[in-house]
Symmetry: C2
Subunit: 425 residues, 2 copies
C-alpha cells in the first residue's frame, strides 16, 4: 500500500503549453546546428531505427492484434502493418532526408538601399510544427526527419491504432538524435491519445507555429474547422485531364490510362477526363480505360462513344473517387474545358494533352491550380517526382506553400538589415 497521491491529471491545454515550451527551447538549439550536424543526427536516427527493429516490430504486433480485435478493415491493417522490409524503408527514408540540401540559411534575395542599408531575406525554420496523423506509423519518422532537417521542432500526434508502433519508432528516433546532439524535446510524441489534446494543439496559437494534418478527409476537415494555428493542409484531389483537339493520339491514350489507372488511390489520380468533341481518337481513349477495368460515367456525348459508359450524375463532376471510376465529358474546345475545370476542379492538379503550343500555354496560364501540366500524367503530382526528395504533403491551400511541400515549405524567412549607423529621416 502506498500513501502517494495519484498524480494530478494535466489539462490538455496545460499539457500542450508545456510540451510547446520545451519544444520551442529545443528548436532554438536545433536552429543553431549547421547542416552537417543535422544530417549526422538524422543518420544516427536512421541507424537507431534499424537497431531497434525487434522492439519496433513487437510494438507493431501489439497494434496489429488490437486492430484485428477492433475489426479494422484489411486496408487499414495494411497501412498499420510493419515488417522488416517496411521498417528498412522507413530508415532509408530518414537517411535520404538527411542528405537533402538544407534550406536554412539560404539567401532568397539581397539588396542595398541608397542609404547604404544592406537587406537580405534569409530562410529560417518555421519553428514548432504540429503534425496530426492517422494510422501509418511511417509518418512518425518521415515527418520528424523533414522537420529536423529544416531546423524545426515537432510535436507529433498519431492515431490511437498505431500508438505502440509510434512510441517505439519515436523512442528509437530520439535516441539516435540525442546521441548526435539534438535536444530530446526537438521531436516529441504527444503522450496521450485523449482527443481533447488534439483540440488543444489546434488552438495553441502562439505556441505552435503551424499544424500539418496528414490523413483522410474527416481528419483534415476537423483540423481546418477547429484550428486557430495556421494549417498547411491537403484537401481533395479532383484532377482533370483535357484531351485537346490537337492532342497526339498515342500520348493521349497513354496519359489517360496512366493518370487514372496506375494507382487509383493517390491524390494525383485523374478523376475527370474531358475530351474535345473534335478529337478524332476519343473512342480509343475510353476503350483503353474500360478495357483496363475502369468504370466510366459520362455525359450524353461521352456515352455515345461507347455503350459501356454509365450515365454521370451531377455529383460525379465533384467527386474524388480514389478508385477505378472516372467521369468523362465531351467538351467543345479549350474554353469549355477551362470553364469545366474552373467550376469543378479542386485546383490540385489539372492537365492538358495537346501538340498546339499556344493552347498549352493558355491552359498553363489560365488554369488556377497548384499544379498545371501539359502532355504528362497527373500522377506525377508528387514531391519525389518533382525532385524535392521527400514531401510532407501536397498543399491545396493558396498561401505559404502550394503543391508538393518539402523542406522549403517548412521554412519561413527573416529580413537581415546591415547598417553602418543609419537613422531614418
Amino acid at each position: 500500500m502506498t500513501t502517494d497521491l495519484a498524480p494530478a491529471v494535466e489539462a490538455p491545454e496545460a499539457l500542450v503549453a508545456r510540451l510547446a515550451g520545451v519544444g520551442r527551447a529545443a528548436q532554438r538549439v536545433l536552429a543553431r546546428m549547421d547542416a552537417p550536424a543535422k544530417a549526422a543526427a538524422l543518420h544516427a536516427a536512421a541507424a537507431a531505427l534499424r537497431a531497434a527493429e525487434s522492439t519496433i516490430l513487437a510494438a507493431n504486433a501489439q497494434d496489429m492484434a488490437a486492430g484485428e480485435a477492433r475489426g479494422l478493415t484489411g486496408a487499414m491493417l495494411d497501412r498499420l502493418r510493419l515488417d522488416s522490409a517496411r521498417l528498412a524503408g522507413i530508415a532509408d527514408a530518414v537517411d535520404a532526408v538527411a542528405d537533402l540540401p538544407d534550406p536554412v540559411g539560404q539567401v532568397i534575395d539581397r539588396s542595398v538601399r541608397p542609404n547604404g542599408l544592406e537587406l537580405s531575406r534569409v530562410r529560417v525554420p518555421v519553428g514548432l510544427i504540429g503534425i496530426i496523423y492517422e494510422s501509418r506509423p511511417n509518418v512518425t519518422a518521415d515527418a520528424a526527419a523533414l522537420c529536423v532537417r529544416s531546423g524545426n521542432a515537432v510535436l507529433l500526434r498519431g492515431g490511437s491504432e498505431a500508438v505502440h508502433s509510434n512510441r517505439a519508432i519515436h523512442a528509437a528516433l530520439v535516441q539516435g538524435l540525442v546521441s548526435a546532439g539534438v535536444p530530446e524535446a526537438a521531436v516529441q510524441l504527444m503522450p496521450t491519445q485523449d482527443r481533447a489534446a488534439v483540440g488543444a494543439m489546434l488552438t495553441a496559437a502562439g505556441l505552435i507555429d503551424m499544424i500539418i494534418p496528414r490523413g483522410g478527409k474527416s481528419l483534415v476537415a476537423r483540423v481546418q474547422a477547429d484550428a486557430r494555428v495556421p494549417v498547411l493542409a491537403h484537401l481533395d484531389g479532383i484532377c482533370h485531364t483535357f484531351i485537346h483537339a490537337a492532342a497526339d493520339p498515342a500520348k493521349a491514350r497513354a496519359i489517360a490510362r496512366n493518370a487514372k489507372l496506375r494507382r487509383t488511390g493517390i491524390c494525383g489520380a485523374m478523376e475527370t477526363l474531358l475530351i474535345d468533341s473534335t478529337f478524332p481518337d476519343a473512342q480509343a481513349v475510353v476503350a483503353d480505360l474500360l478495357d483496363g477495368g475502369c468504370e466510366l460515367r459520362g455525359d450524353a456525348r461521352a456515352r455515345a462513344l461507347d455503350p459501356r459508359i454509365n450515365p454521370a450524375s451531377a455529383e460525379d463532376w465533384d467527386t474524388e473517387y480514389l478508385d477505378a471510376i472516372l467521369s468523362v465529358a465531351v467538351v467543345d474546345g479549350l474554353g469549355a474545358a477551362l470553364a469545366h475545370i474552373e467550376r469543378h476542379s479542386s485546383h490540385h492538379t489539372d492537365a492538358i494533352v495537346t501538340e498546339d503550343e499556344s493552347v498549352a500555354e493558355q491552359f498553363l496560364a489560365e488554369v488556377d491550380s497548384a499544379i498545371v501540366m501539359v502532355n504528362a500524367s497527373t500522377q506525377f503530382a508528387d514531391g519525389g517526382e518533382f525532385g524535392l526528395g521527400a514531401e510532407i504533403g501536397i498543399a491545396t491551400g493558396r498561401l505559404h506553400a502550394r503543391g508538393p511541400v518539402a523542406l522549403e515549405g517548412l521554412t519561413t524567412y527573416k529580413w537581415q538589415v546591415r547598417g553602418t549607423g543609419q537613422v531614418r529621416l
Copy 2:
C-alpha cells in the same frame, strides 16, 4: 405612395457569397491582363481620384461632421480628415503602385527532371483578398491599388466613421479602372456597415482567399480569433535595440534617439533599450532620450545611470507604448540580451549596435524576429524604406510572408509542368 415591396434583407453570409462570386469572376479577367494594362488602369484610377476631388472632399466633410458630433478624439478626426493635399497624396500613391514591377508571371525557379519533365514555379495572384480596416480612408485606395497591381480582386470593408469618404473614393477608383478594362467587381466595397458582414467575411473559407486586417489591436485580435480564412496580420511591435559593449558611442546615441523619438506611434519604434553593462557611454544615451522628452522606465541598474529614470514594472517589458516612453535594462553581454529579446520581443524588429562583426552576425542569426538589424534604427522597418515601393502591412506571423508585405506577399505560385507525353512508372 408606392406598392413596391421593401427589398428582402440579404443575410450577411449570402451577401458575402454573392460579392465573392462576382469578385472571383472579375479576378479571372484581371489575372489575364498584362502588366502594362494593369498599370494603365491604375493610372486611370489615380486620374479619376483627382477628378473627383470635390465629390470626395464633400463626402469626407460629411464623415468629419458626423465624427465631431459623435465625439471622436482629435487623433481619430485627424486620421479621418482629407484635404486637397492629402487626396493628391492618395492619388500619387496609386500612380506609384502602378509603376511598381508586376510580380505576376515571375518564374521563381525552374528545373528539368531526368525524365524530361520541365518544372517551373510561377507567381500568380492569391485570388480574392478581403481587407478589413478602420478610419483612414486612404486605405481604400492603397489596398485596392496593391491588389489590382498584383492581379487580385479585393473586397474592402472600411470603418463606419469613414463610410462616405470610402464610398466616394471607391466610386472614383472603380470608374477609372473600368474605363481601362478592369471589371467593376475587381474592387468591391462592402455595401453595408453591419458588423455581421465582417463576421461573414472572416468565415468565408473557400470564397475569400486571404484576409488582411489593418487597424488597431482590437480589430486585429477579433479578426484572428474569428477567422476561418487565412489571415495576414500585424500584431505588436515590441522592438528592442541592444547597445553592445563594442558599440560606437556616436552611432549608439543617434540610433537610440531616432529609434524611439523620430515617430513614437509607428510599429517600428523602439520600445525597449538594452544596454550592455560594460558599454562606457550609457549615461549619454539615456540623457539624450530624457532630454528629448522621453520618459524612461528602468531596472535597478538602468536607474543608477540617471535619477530621472522611473522604475519599470514587470509589464513594462511586454508593453508597446507607441508613445514617448521607453523601458531600459542594463544587461551582461550578448547572451543576456538575446535571452531578454527571446522572452519579451514580439519578434517584429530587433536591432543591435556594435562594431564587433562576429557579435553582429550572431545577433542576426539567433534573434528570431521578422526583421533583425545591425547598426540601424528600428524605424527603418517599413516597406517603402525596404524598397518595396508600398506595403499592405508588416506581417508578424511566420507563414506566407513576414515583415513588410508588398506586392510579392499578395501572390502565391503555381507549378507548371511541361511534358512530351511522360507517364509515371
